[in-house]
């Protein structure tokens, strides 16, 4: 166990003032819930919710060597980012195409901004240093810049109220826009981790308490709720978005994790490409799939998946009660022959088998998309 003192975000006292229940998440003292997970989850689906995600890592890569350096570290094609203030979701891969982390890369005027998982900040930093090339510079901005996620169908209207900036309405997925929110300079990306429309708002840490209070204040009109990591997890599972340490690990490749759409073989060489080519040629042995069950018993990480003959065919990586759908859902790695939608499987839960069915991803999909 890591016994070093917990790290805090700038909003720690704000969370405590709101009577949040705090937990250790990746070494950070973070709110798991303020009131309860269900109401926070539904506020994001129906209105708007706000999350402190300042624990996420932010690295800035600059210099003439940046493009070639990053292009070699990811399976996605970084040349797709033609203009500044665009971004993409991708992964850092090791030599065996195992996933070191998943991240978003934004192209900005100075170079590239990388937003990585809190749990992997040190590991990523070490990997980026190990792969270091000439003519580039990497800076860790995690502490000096905070991050708030404003998520839900009313998120855009709330930002329009606060900024009057009509360019928000045409901002594309992973696009960035500079905003002035009641005197506070920020930049916001249309992104998130909930399956809803929304924004991730980057702000200097010295201004984040003010920004948090402005958003809570003006958000009242739309029933905005502060949301904790509990709702963040139930929302992302409903949207079938993978979480590092659950669906994504160094033992899994993007092809197995149903992230094949991120892998661009024709872009040229990149770390892990050989293994992915081999996997592509010989076929996958396991694949990440979505399962639903029919009672109210929740399949959780580590539960065994078996076929109708009781033979082990896989393992659950995440599960929850889908609070917008009313039944339990899970993601699991299963042997390829059991990965087709409608396949009937069983999940072993506390010694009994629970009927489960493979379903298409995601479990929850919002009606309109930006």
């Amino acid at each position: 166990m890591n016994t070093s003192p917990l790290k805090t975000t700038m909003l720690n006292q704000e969370h405590r003032n709101l009577n949040a229940k705090m937990v250790n998440f990746a070494g950070f003292d973070m709110p798991i819930q303020y009131k309860n997970i269900t109401s926070e989850h539904l506020s994001v689906r129906e209105n708007v919710g706000i999350f402190d995600v300042s624990h996420m890592g932010q690295f800035e890569v600059s210099g003439t060597g940046s493009f070639a350096y990053l292009q070699n570290l990811i399976p996605s094609d970084l040349s797709k980012l033609i203009h500044n203030d665009t971004g993409l979701y991708t992964q850092l891969l090791d030599n065996k195409a195992g996933i070191i982390d998943d991240l978003i890369i934004y192209k900005r005027d100075f170079g590239y901004l990388l937003v990585v998982n809190a749990s992997n900040i040190e590991k990523n930093w070490a990997w980026l240093q190990l792969q270091l090339k000439d003519n580039l510079q990497i800076v860790n901005k995690t502490t000096e810049r905070s991050l708030l996620a404003l998520q839900g169908p009313k998120a855009e209207q709330l930002l329009l109220d606060l900024t009057n900036n009509q360019d928000l309405t045409s901002l594309k997925s992973f696009g960035i826009i500079n905003l002035n929110i009641k005197g506070i300079s920020v930049f916001a990306a249309r992104s998130g981790y909930t399956g809803e429309d929304g924004f991730e708002i980057f702000v200097e840490s010295s201004n984040v308490i003010g920004l948090w209070q402005v958003l809570l204040d003006y958000g009242q009109k739309y029933n905005l709720k502060p949301c904790g990591l509990g709702a963040r997890d139930t929302l992302r599972i409903e949207a079938a978005l993978p979480l590092y340490g659950h669906e994504l690990t160094e033992a899994t490749t993007p092809l197995e994790a149903s992230l094949g759409w991120c892998v661009k073989f024709d872009k040229g060489n990149f770390i892990g490409r050989d293994r992915l080519v081999k996997q592509q040629e010989s076929g996958l042995t396991q694949k990440l799939i979505c399962l639903k069950t029919f009672n109210r018993i929740i399949p959780r990480q580590g539960y065994e998946v078996v076929n109708n003959d009781g033979q082990n065919v896989g393992i659950v990586t995440s599960g929850t009660m889908a609070l917008s759908l009313g039944y339990p859902v899970a993601m699991a790695y299963v042997k390829l022959e059991f990965s087709n939608p409608d396949t009937q499987l069983q999940i072993m839960i506390r010694g009994s088998s629970e009927l489960a069915q493979v379903v298409k991803r995601p479990f929850y999909k919002r009606s309109q998309k930006k």
Binding site: I37, G230, T234, N295, R296, I297, I298, M321, R350
Partner: protein
């Protein structure tokens, strides 16, 4: 503020026992327990007529965050299970001492009640 009424008795596994009426008691989980669990999504309870000794597992309570076993605070036979929890498990969060009760039992050994914690003792126990 968490609430642990004086009229009930408590055990370290966070179940409460109501006062005795005709040899029967009502059992549920405490306000502290429901608060720790968070959003309850499922309660698995035994069949009517089943008998359990003190400290034996009699069910499972599941929340979004976690799953916990339920333990008998006293020995007895299940004579009623809360029929509302199947469709409304959130009653355990909203009203753990009222509509969110779990089971009613016929006591097997009323002397066991002498060893349970008072509200005051339980409050002290959870503060530690």
């Amino acid at each position: 503020m968490l609430n642990h009424p004086d009229k009930f008795q408590y055990v370290k596994t966070h179940e409460y026992v109501s006062s005795v009426e005709n040899d029967t008691v009502t059992i549920g989980i405490t306000d502290f327990a429901q608060d720790q669990l968070g959003d309850v999504t499922f309660v698995e309870l035994p069949k009517i007529g089943a008998s359990f000794s003190i400290e034996k597992k009699f069910g499972v309570i599941e929340s979004v965050k976690s799953v916990s076993d339920l333990f008998m605070p006293v020995s007895g036979e299940i004579i009623e299970v809360n029929p509302k929890l199947d469709s409304s498990p959130e009653l355990v969060n909203n009203d753990c001492y009222g509509d969110g009760w779990l089971v009613k039992i016929k006591l097997a050994n009323a002397k066991e009640l002498n060893n349970l914690m008072s509200a005051q003792e339980y409050a002290k126990f959870i503060a530690e």
